[in-house]
């Protein structure tokens, strides 16, 4: 009897905990399939076989909206999302409130970039920091494609830059379908469709290219499959 009561209480706790929170996951696709890091994948729309070896990026200032009203903001300011580590791709919100829009930024803001060493996801040991020049790498995308005229056909995009005129922090605002299952989709085919891999395969410092490429990724993000 006591056991049953305990179980009931436990179940209730679990239930009330889950009802007060919800989560939202990033999903990545290549060639209309879920992205597999380190696996060569054919994309019909690109007519190319690509392999992605790393896809990591910072997101910051995550806020949920219902209509015009902001209903919830995440306390943790920055998250490092790594397509290879599933546990990093899920955002958890401690609110049960309904929302129909999410806004966030891809990258690290200029204040965080100019205030010294930070810990957690922002620790420079995460490999998302330039060393010869101060600043976070907002997004890393590395891999290979036969289209790249490079050693081992590799491409490397280390995109960042926080100060004028190369501030690459990218705003994203996404409408979310009400009631249905919600997710944030980054289809990499859309990114590669916009760039000319035989000519643009290496961006490793702040500048126009980095800012432009981050914008292309930002624009490709969607809440529908």
């Amino acid at each position: 009897m006591i056991k049953a009561l305990f179980l009931l209480v436990l179940m209730h706790t679990c239930y009330s905990m889950s009802s007060q929170s919800q989560s939202l996951a990033f999903e990545f696709t290549l060639g209309n399939q879920p992205l597999e890091i380190g696996v060569k994948t054919y994309s019909k729309s690109l007519k190319d076989s690509l392999q992605i070896d790393a896809f990591r990026f910072y997101i910051s200032s995550v806020t949920l909206f219902n209509g015009k009203d902001s209903v919830h903001s995440l306390k943790q300011t920055h998250f490092l999302i790594d397509a290879e580590k599933k546990e990093t791709t899920k955002l958890r919100f401690s609110t049960a409130k309904e929302f129909n829009r999410i806004s966030f930024q891809i990258g690290v803001d200029s204040t965080t970039n100019s205030t010294g060493a930070h810990g957690g996801d922002l620790d420079p040991m995460k490999g998302m920091y330039w060393s010869w020049q101060s600043g976070y790498i907002n997004l890393k995308l590395e891999g290979s494609s036969a289209l790249c005229p490079t050693r081992k056909n590799e491409f490397q995009f280390h995109l960042g830059g926080y100060s004028y005129p190369n501030n690459s922090l990218t705003e994203v605002s996404l409408k979310m379908p009400k009631g249905k299952e919600k997710f944030i989709l980054i289809p990499l085919d859309s990114f590669f469709k916009e760039i000319d891999l035989p000519f643009l395969y290496s961006v490793m410092s702040p500048g126009e290219d980095a800012t432009q490429l981050l914008k292309i990724i930002g624009d490709s993000i969607s809440s529908e499959r």
Partner: protein, 341 residues
């Protein structure tokens, strides 16, 4: 239980801050301006200063364990690299710049000769990963430190956490470097009315204030801004200073104004170490600038000094040597922390 832990930690945090506030007053000279380094984000503690000091002198930071920070920033040279125009790294590789002296860093808001680094905390990442300096990767240093016999304990004493992180490593290096304060030269003692200038030094000071004071402002003897000082480009290095990282034409040939403290310990001079004596530097400003269009406003008015005036100016500049700073054992190899006799 959680609440209890929070209360206990809150007690320790507030107690810790109290101690730190006191130590700040001790560290920063009363007659210096407000430091730019934000100590609230990295409150000084003896544990972290000690850790930073041990790290500074440990070649474990370099790829082949051959080079420490002190290899190019020697305490006896006011943490510069005397007699070397350009700094050396692992495998005898030679860099492209003259290692700058390290002192009074809390008053600087950008680092390196070209200002590519925006905060003291993240400065160490540049030499650590540069192929011609330490040639290492942060993640690999962290694993070497975590597996060492001394560091987990030193990190524990510094940050109450024996897990080595990049943040703590960098903050500890900052803390030690923040303690490198040069404020006890003859100049400082005269300003505090403890000593007096000689007649020559006093003449030199007047000449200094007429000709050099706009950029090398007292008491730090630099405004830590970036200027074009008319040095011709060295075609073996092709170093364009700030332009190298901003790629903006207006930044071409801009280099950081260095402090003039401790000149006797820090030769050679300039970003590429091209001058080995103070007199050569002064002569550059009086007769060495060939292209008057490619210099900063402050230097547009020609500087003219007689030979005697140059001697007096040097006499004043030598009063900026801070022997107490250079021989301060608290800044030297950490024998007592490592318990080496």
């Amino acid at each position: 239980m959680k609440i209890l832990i929070s209360i206990i930690s809150l007690f320790f945090i507030s107690f810790g801050l109290g101690v730190n506030k006191e130590s700040l007053i001790e560290i920063f000279p009363a007659d210096f301006p407000e430091p730019t380094y934000d100590l609230e984000k990295n409150p000084l503690s003896q544990g972290a200063i000690n850790l930073g000091r041990v790290l500074f002198y440990d070649p474990i930071l370099s790829k082949d364990r051959s080079i420490s920070c002190a290899s190019c920033h020697s305490p006896y040279n006011a943490f510069a690299h005397t007699d070397h125009e350009l700094s050396h790294g692992i495998s005898d590789l030679i860099g492209t710049r003259n290692a700058p002296a390290l002192f009074n860093l809390a008053w600087q808001s950008s680092f390196m000769w070209d200002g590519a680094v925006n905060h003291l905390d993240v400065q160490a990442l540049a030499p650590l990963t540069s192929k011609s300096e330490m040639g290492e990767e942060l993640i690999s240093v962290i694993s070497k430190l975590q597996n060492s016999s001394i560091y987990p304990d030193l990190f524990m004493k510094a940050f109450n956490d024996s897990v080595v992180t990049g943040e703590h490593l960098l903050k500890a290096l900052s803390q030690f470097q923040l303690t490198l304060i040069s404020a006890n030269s003859k100049y400082d003692k005269v300003m505090r009315k403890e000593e007096k200038f000689t007649a020559k030094e006093l003449t030199g000071k007047r000449l200094f204030e007429k000709n050099c004071n706009t950029c090398h402002i007292q008491p730090l003897f630099s405004n830590y801004q970036f200027k074009k000082n008319g040095l011709e480009i060295d075609s073996t290095l092709n170093d364009y200073g700030k332009f190298n990282h901003t790629k903006l034409a207006k930044d071409s040939l801009l280099f950081k104004v260095p402090s003039l403290r401790n000149l006797s310990y820090t030769f050679p001079y300039m970003h590429d170490g091209r001058f080995s004596t103070i007199r050569e530097v002064i002569s550059h400003y009086t007769n060495g600038i060939t292209d008057k269009t490619a210099i900063s406003e402050e230097l547009k008015e020609p500087i003219s000094l007689t030979s005697d005036e140059k001697t007096d100016l040097v006499a004043f500049l030598l009063t900026l040597n801070d022997k107490e700073f250079v021989f301060n054992k608290k800044h030297h190899y950490p024998l007592e922390i490592l318990k080496i006799n």
